[in-house]
Amino acid sequence: MKSLYKILAVACLVMGFAACENEQLTGESIFIDPVIDTTTYTYQFDKWLDKYYTEPYNVEFLYKLDDNATDPNYNVVPVSIGMADTLAHLALYLWYDVYDSVVGPEFLPEYGPKMIQLIGSSMMDPVNNTEKLGYAEGGIKITLLKINKMQLNNIDNLNEYIFKTMHHEFAHILHQQKNYPTEFAQITPANYDPIKWQERTYKEAWQLGCVSNYGSSEAREDFVEVIANYIVKPDAWWANMLKEAGTEGAALINQKWEICNNWLAEKWEISLDDLRAEVQKRQANLDWEMIMSFDEMLKEKRENAKE
């Protein structure tokens, strides 16, 4: 009798669970399969991105805009496929391969951003008269803006709006992973103005000990502006800045530069001067035909490295 009770009890339990059997979810995902679809219009570009970004650098290159991934306070538009292609080639040449060459090929796959998002327009704030050109989030994602407006034959425009932004945002990614020294923020704490920085001219910012007016908004922006400007701006620009900054301003900027330089060397084993030299060398040679076929050179370089 006891065993009958046991059998009945077990049977009841089995029936109880079996009753829920038809509630099981199907194995099908509601999300689009991440495997690159060979039938799509952008297949060739997607395959290229997979080969030159995702596979070697562990980074997703997002050029098809998802409105949910943008700041809803701003009106923006997507990047054109043509400009996304150009930027992707340019970033390989002036950013990714620079770190491969100067720091080593293992650096970016580990510490580089996991997502690069492109947006066609900038984020304009007409009330405060500011324009956002890029932003970095959580140490893993960089968004580059205003890509549709790249002036490919205007080095100053590219330098200010694209190259500097790349290195600016990447420096954010680095300090979001390893904090920058606290003493940096103590150099010119009274000069930071997060509300009205845009009303300062560059010269005014220099005299306050900051390398740009945006750098004078807050310490973390100042920190990455020192690095980004030093990397992309030519010698004459840097020398002129120190001169125009006056003795006091120049001393403050040099003090900040020392901290940036030491931080990169100690925390990341990166030589700021080597990085700068490599970027400057490459910027001086903006041969678009070469840049757009740079992937082929990389392929060769990687094959040689394997051998």
Partner: protein, 434 residues
Amino acid sequence: MKAKYLVIIGLLAATFAACSRDEESLFDKPAAIRAQEAIDNAFDVLTSAENGWEMAYFPNLEASAKGYNMVLKFNKNGNVSVTAKNSATTANKILTDTASTWAVKSDYGPILTFDTYNDVFHAFSDPKDNGAGFLGDYEFLILKATPELVILKGKKHSAYTIMRPMKNTDLPAYFAACEKMQTNLFGNNNIVTLTQGNEKMYLYKGADGQFQSAAYGSPLVAEEATYHPVCSTEDGIIVSTGFGEDVHDHIFLYDSINGELKSEAGAVMNAGNLNVLFGAYFTDNALGWAVDSEGQETVDALIAAVNTAMNNTSAKMKVMGYGYKQSLNMYEGGYFLLVNFTYKQGKKNQEKKLVWTIDLTQDENGVTVANAVPYDSNTETFLGQIPSAQAVADMMLGSFKAVPLQGYLFNAAAGMKLVGEKELVIRGANNIKM
């Protein structure tokens, strides 16, 4: 032992209770499956239109908003081609961009996204230098997707966008037809009457791509006006927002026979009671009606009569057929009839202007013009010489009903007919001087 029975009974109860979730579901399928089906349906609908889609695109709901025509072809490989012609973004040239992508994705519902930049399409959502531009969207909630009609709503700026399958494969002809509709319907400042159910209202100022609505019979009060951006199409108009409360008619098709625009739900836009409009045109605009000599059987006879009379005088004038104009005008102090004609005296072309005062009354049932009395000494002198010329003025007298004129049915100011014993074609005019 009793405890054991209780346990068994309890377990049995639990067993059957476990099935209680098999109650009839509100939906026949799980949410994820339904979401995917909605996406698949929208994809199939959008890619099924053989000639692509006509899009009536309304960037936003701001007071300055207008509607724009675009033609879109969605390809199954995720590529989209967009064509437009307008003065705002394409310098009035037909412009096509075929190098961008689209997708239907899931968010709060199926979303149509134009996720890479298209020169033609994103010209309306590009923030430009002021951070706003035309305030258009590039992601849209798909509210309805059938092979006959797609209704979208901008995700950020909330304006409706309407798409219908293209019938015309000739794009230049399509855009020309849309522009012609625009001109015919909205060429002049005009008052349009909208009737939907028991509700009636006035619509004002179609010329800048918008209706502004006001209570029926009331003049427009700018501060109280609501804005309804309009997009002209080949076969009528599409409005981004419905008129009145709880009315969401977007598409009004043009009925050229009756001079009306009608929505599927039965709302009707027309020029309203033309008898009233006839008089309102004087008072609202301080302008006149020019009487068109074309098609007036009586005109030739009148000219002949005046010529006969003139030939009987010593002046020996000859009225020329062209340049013959009459107009009804209102100036300070009353209504006037002006007759302006050129004539030949000897070898010289001369111009003559005769002016009569008239009595003009009009109500919803008709228009009456009576008592043409010479206004000035010039007219009196002329009539003294040629008494039969009074017939030129008397021709305008009578009781009429104002009816739409074929070809300008909706735009009454551009042309209507006064039909009584005689039939006069009249057109709104503002260049007639006393």
